[in-house]
Amino acid sequence: MISIRRLTKRYGTNTVLNAIDLDISAGERVAIIGPSGTGKSTLLRCLNYLDRPDGGVIRIGDLTVDAATARPADILALRRRTAFVFQNYSLFANKTARENITEALITVQRKPRADANARADAILREIGLVDKASAYPAALSGGQQQRIGIGRAMALDASLMLFDEPTSSLDPEWVGEVLDLMRQLASRRQTMLIVTHEMQFAREIADRVIFMDGGRIVEQGPPAQIFDAPQDKRTESFLRRVR
């Protein structure tokens, strides 16, 4: 359902993503692990063109976006089929928690305000933040902000949810609540691509784990295989270091 072919990104002479091929089926939960600076976040950011790839084709359902020919309308269409959860939450600072969720429903999806509000209230209940509906991001804890960030992404009903190290900026005390929320999403078979340093979490919820190094996919497979019987030396040495 989602196919990525030869996705490439360079910064100057440095190739950050080296012709990545990847297929993700509907409802699949994929975790990406690997050392820092190996292109994990860049892969995610290229998938919705927050960073424009230098080459490669992304296919989501019937939409095909080729880096060589992508026009603004294609990029917009791609972004409207994906949802992104940022490491630093990046909530709209001038909007309340509830408005953060309704904003795209109203301006992008052109839903009537009442429908958008109803959807936001349902999501706020689900993420357990009904009482914070009218709070601005600055008044929320990191964990609460990230739950709103995930709620904002949930509201989009995207084909693919991208999580860019969603717990890396959080104080340890807030990590649990964010992971719990992601477990909830995973249990509903939401298609998710998650860059994470939480190995235990990756093992627990992912259908497939991808190990990246040096801008390439080195190895991928079911969590048990990657974590317990890695085939590649680089995977093995990385896992030894993070354990």
Partner: protein, 224 residues
Amino acid sequence: MRALDLDYMLGLVPVILGYVPLTIGMALAAMVGALILASLMAVERVVRVPVLDLFVQLFISFFRGTPLLVQLFLFYYGLPQILPVLAGINGVTAAIIGLTLHFSAYMAESIRAAILGVDRSQWEAAQAVGMTQTQSMRRIILPQAARVAAPTLVNYFIDMIKSTSLAFTLGVTEMMGATQKEAAGSFLYFEAFLVVAVLYWAIVEMLSFLQKRLERRLNKALTR
């Protein structure tokens, strides 16, 4: 040194106050025009539309680089000689246009700086949920930039109110023009100009008060 003619001064207050609406009206009209023009120019400076960008830079450079009084004379006395359609322009209109153009140049730079000051992650978040550039700018970036630019913009408004006094040189009878006429009749220049100075000052003080309330409102999103 002679004593101040207090009775004359008190009597003058209501006369000059009668011209306050015109002064404030000119400043308000010019402020609205300048805000719109400045926002458009600021957005242009950020996204840099080819060719247009050169015009905007030239515009800003000219209106910041020449005195307001010279600009007003150029519009009111000069331009109608070249463009006969402008021959019938009245002083109030000319003053409003002059103030609009002059202050829009300064305000464009403040707004541009404020836009650039909004964290890049706010752009990314707006793009990520599928907003167009225009939607991102209008719904997410400009409101946050407005909060940053507000104190400076109010300062420009204050400056603008005081600058309306230059309209008197275009034959407009506003606060300053009225005072000048009164003083010419009574020869009590010190009293007359002191009264008008205090009245300008009072208006500006009231605005400073409103400025504080506005800032508190705009900062609502950032306080716990």
